[in-house]
Amino acid sequence: MNPGGKKESPQNPQQQQADVSRRRFFTLMGLGIGWGGFAAALGGTSVGALRYLFPNVVYEPPTVFKIGKPDDYGVGVDNKLKKERQIWVVRNERGIYVLVAICRHLGCTPNWFDDQKRFRCPCHGSIYDVTGNVVGGPAPRTLWRAGVSIDPVDGQIVVNFNQRQDPDPKGTDEGLMVDEKSREVPPFFLQV
């Protein structure tokens, strides 16, 4: 304040008050910058650490794949790709759709019972009918249908596991239902 040891001139009270409030302002500003910077550094590091935990590249099975020609699949539920691709290929009178073999309850793989015409999940007993509607058990939504298209070059069905049809079901006496017509639309249905 007075480094040279000069004689301090008496100041009027107003000047003194201004000095005090100015000093207070600078102190607060210094504290603000200091603690603010500290908090920002801490916050930035935390966000960075959190972001670090989300990988940018994952090494997982392909999510878009070919499953052969439409003629390979007859009417009904085809169980043979469940092991390899976690899907069921279903053909009805109108065409083909692909159900994802992941229970909507907790991700177990349901089993197809051809005699009962039902998918039943071994984990918590969810039951689905052939269209994927929930007809029993705790599943909150209907089975996903994966995106399907025809490769124009070799005519094979291309399944896109990333595209999932997931409409809001309606609660009825029989269970959770979705209007079948609204589901049989591209890209989730092949009219072949």
């Binding site: 090494y59 997982e60 309850h105 991700g107």
Partner: protein
């Protein structure tokens, strides 16, 4: 003969080495019994004296101490298991098989680890019940109860992460189901209430960060391994230290 034994004991306990390790005499008198508590870091978890009532087996059933013992047992057997286990989806299952078939005492260590884990979950739960029934969470011990709840949660998460490591069907599906629950977390899970509305998808939600991917695969195994063997034990040790220190400061509960 006695004289000879005395002489040997004298020669051992009077050496500089012995004295540098043990700073108390044999705890055969009260002063040394007190001193042993002060100068031994492990025994220092105890006070010098406790109320007579706190010693009754029917009061504590030794449950807190046993839980700690199971933790130590798990740490020791766990380190042994780590010598033969590689957290790689192509190897893990066979490594566990090897433990049971080609490694001397391998199955013993694995069984001990498994039973200690079951025992620890059980004793932690029983300990909590006991502490509730004796009202030992009442002031001034409220915060230590909270620390205890945290320890219970960490114990359960440790069991769950350990469950995946053998990479068998039991492991995979228990963790698949568990991680699906994470997916259903409100706000931060892609299948939870208001999750999709907030932009959560399979590749940016809480399940994704837990598994390090969208399926229970190699990265999930590695993450669980690291958490199980390193991350969570460190957290556990930290909270155990606080838990024990608080007991030591507040003493055993008892009627005033």
């Amino acid at each position: 003969m006695n004289k000879l034994l005395d002489q040997i004991r004298e020669n051992v306990t009077q050496t500089q080495v012995w004295k540098s390790i043990f700073r108390h005499g044999f705890p055969s008198n009260d002063a040394n019994r007190a001193l042993v508590m002060f100068s031994n870091v492990i025994l220092h978890l105890h006070p010098v004296r406790v109320r007579r009532g706190a010693l009754k087996i029917k009061f504590t059933w030794c449950l807190g101490g046993l839980t700690f013992f199971f933790f130590v047992m798990l740490a020791v057997t766990g380190v042994f298991l780590m010598f033969y286990y590689v957290p790689d989806t192509r190897r893990a299952y066979n490594d566990i098989k090897d433990l049971g078939t080609v490694i001397y005492f391998g199955s013993l260590f694995r069984n001990l680890h498994r039973w200690s884990a079951h025992a620890m979950v059980f004793s932690v739960w029983m300990h909590m019940t006991r502490v509730f029934l004796t009202g030992s969470y009442k002031p001034p011990r409220e915060f230590n109860w909270v620390v205890g709840v945290i320890l219970l949660v960490v114990t359960l998460v440790m069991s769950w992460t350990g469950y995946l490591l053998p990479w068998d069907q039991l492991a995979l599906w228990a963790v698949t189901v568990g991680s699906k629950m994470a997916e259903a977390t409100p706000l931060v899970g892609n299948a939870g209430p208001f999750g999709p509305e907030l932009g959560m998808g399979v590749d940016n939600d809480v399940r994704f960060v837990l598994l390090g991917g969208t399926v229970v695969g190699q990265s999930a195994l590695l993450r669980f391994y690291v958490l199980h063997c390193l991350g969570l034990p460190l957290v556990m040790a930290l909270f155990m230290a606080v838990h024990f220190w608080r007991i030591r400061k507040d003493g055993f509960s008892g009627p005033l």
